[in-house]
Point group: C2
Chain length 146, copies 2
DNA sequence: CTAAAAGTTAGAGTTAACTCTAAGGCAAGC
DNA sequence: GCTTGCCTTAGAGTTAACTCTAACTTTTAG
């Protein structure tokens, strides 16, 4: 099976402009052209999936390009690519930890507003302890502690 | 206690430029000025913490500004603010789910490279099943399925 | 009293990641 | 054979979020 740029755009949930932009940035070095027109094939999908994954992990396009270039060089860059993946894994874990921390802050605020709404005024919760007081400081993912 | 712009910048782990930019965007309507100079006080810290939280949840500055404006209006906007917080909570949960999904993809790639490194060549893993095959499709956070 | 450090403003410049326009090519259906 | 629609390119425009500069003021330490 083969797919046009607009079909792939739909699958990736981005515009055709974006796909062309990615291509311009060198993210699709192996995609076939027929009469100058991009033809995506089944063999391209594992990479499209990987690209989608890295994009959603907020990897900058330049870094993704570096990864592509490493992959093109073949077996001699296996270790480098592995290290890059390891880095990503750590980054994901850090991100999840951070999100869980911020979720606690948001959940506190949620309870705060529920109480305030019940009372009809924020006055009723003005003296609630701040979220930090109820959280383990070691969980803090940032340097903002005061 | 009171704090200068540079002290607060350090705490938030951003530059003083950034703090002034946030101020210009209306994110600090209640911060005191003495001779035109910003003086951050203890009473400002709960909001600074909240700001930090929303920033790290990728809320755009304009949306944060909307939240600030709602808060300034007082009790009549309690429900709106509550809804905004609820939205954020849902967004966090979605983000965590997505990250967990992408983690699986990265972990697959990690194992792939470990095997390839062991063999010394990617040829050894060329016919590995792709990650999708081993994942529950319902977990997919995006529309990219092929 | 003065020099350095840190603050102020308005506004220009930067960067990433799109997003779109203009001018044109090609293939399918009527 | 012509219109429609999707494709191409180069390159300009947009947006968010900073990031910095220039000119100037205020605070602080010696």
């Amino acid at each position: 099976m083969s797919y046009s740029i607009s079909e792939v755009a739909k699958m990736l949930n981005v515009s055709t402009y974006t796909i062309r932009y990615y291509d311009k940035e060198g993210l699709f070095p192996l995609v076939k052209r027929v009469n100058g027109i991009r033809v995506f094939e089944d063999k391209d999908f594992p990479w499209l999936r990987m690209l989608n994954c890295l994009k959603n992990l907020n990897m900058p396009i330049k870094k993704i390009k570096e990864y592509v270039d490493l992959a093109l060089k073949g077996d001699e860059t296996l270790k480098e690519r592995y290290d890059l993946i390891l880095e990503q894994e750590e980054s994901i874990e850090k991100q999840i930890k951070e999100l869980k921390y911020y979720k606690k802050q948001i959940d506190f605020k949620k309870a705060y507003y529920e109480k305030a709404l019940e009372a009809g005024t924020e006055e009723a919760v003005k003296d609630w302890p701040n979220p930090e007081a109820t959280l383990d400081v070691d969980e803090l993912p940032n340097k903002f502690r005061r």
